[in-house]
Symmetry: C2
DNA sequence: ATAAACCTTAGAGTACACACCAAGGTCAAG
DNA sequence: CTTGACCTTGGTGTGTACTCTAAGGTTTAT
């Protein structure tokens, strides 16, 4: 698959794909005779992974580290690879905990709001939220 | 509280605080006679909220929207405020689901790895993971 | 065989989120 | 009453992650 079709399928630009290649996040499976990038199934999976990681707040540098868990196994001990994996897993757990608190706060706000057509400053619940305590606790 | 002490308590720079003020994310409670910024308890709470939101991957623009749920109530209907809140809550829920899948995948990798001193490519489990399917599914 | 629609590299430009610096005002301690 | 640590505004610089442009080569359809 050439870069244009590949980019279309994933909803990203061809520039982004070339940028990721340059920064060692995604290398196309091969090149055609004319030097065109040729992306395969593995590249598709890896790119989907990158996009999902990005979507939940990982930087490209962090994503690169995640991807290298796989590549590092050829140069490092089981111990090191396991430690890196656990470290990343715990980071993810922290973010989940943080997001769960956000979700809880937003749920409280949403559930208690009447949802009517009147101006919201008359909403009995919102009126009591004179500061963002409900979101900060 | 002057900007220096406030910044110290939160572990951010004074530059960051002035930047947030300029971009309407956090306005100090008042100014002293000399024109110094004076931050109070409400500012502290709001800043903590901003930092936590940032930490889980929200952009400053998104955080501004979250904060405006509070301010918007004076100009918009309960209905609109509730919808915005629900929309943001659902976005958070999606991120939690995604992160949970990440956590699961990383747990599988970590738990099955022997963790020994030998090169990781001899680890019976990792050897079978010839691609990153474990992370992409 | 030529136009349109693709592709190539290299390099410059942009938006976000700060970080740093200059020139100068304010304030508490010695 | 001055030194040093704070504060002010305004402007410039930096890293990240793209985004666009220029100049040109390739492929497909008519």
């Amino acid at each position: 698959m050439k870069i244009g079709e590949f980019a279309n399928q994933l909803g990203v630009s061809t520039d982004t794909l070339r940028y990721y290649e340059k920064h060692n996040l995604l290398t196309p499976s091969s090149r055609t005779g004319a030097g065109y990038r040729d992306y395969g199934e593995a590249a598709l999976k890896q790119m989907k992974f990158i996009l999902r990681a990005k979507n939940v707040g990982f930087s490209l540098a962090e994503i690169k580290e995640l991807l290298q868990i796989k590549f590092k196994k050829h140069q490092h001990s089981c111990h090191e690879v396991k430690n890196l994996t656990i470290q990343k897993r715990d980071l993810v757990a922290e973010r989940i905990a943080e997001l769960t608190r956000f979700h809880q706060s937003l749920s409280v706000l949403a559930d208690k709001c009447c949802g009517g057509q009147e101006p919201a400053d008359n909403c009995s619940i919102l009126t009591t939220l004179e500061d963002i305590d409900g979101l900060t606790q």
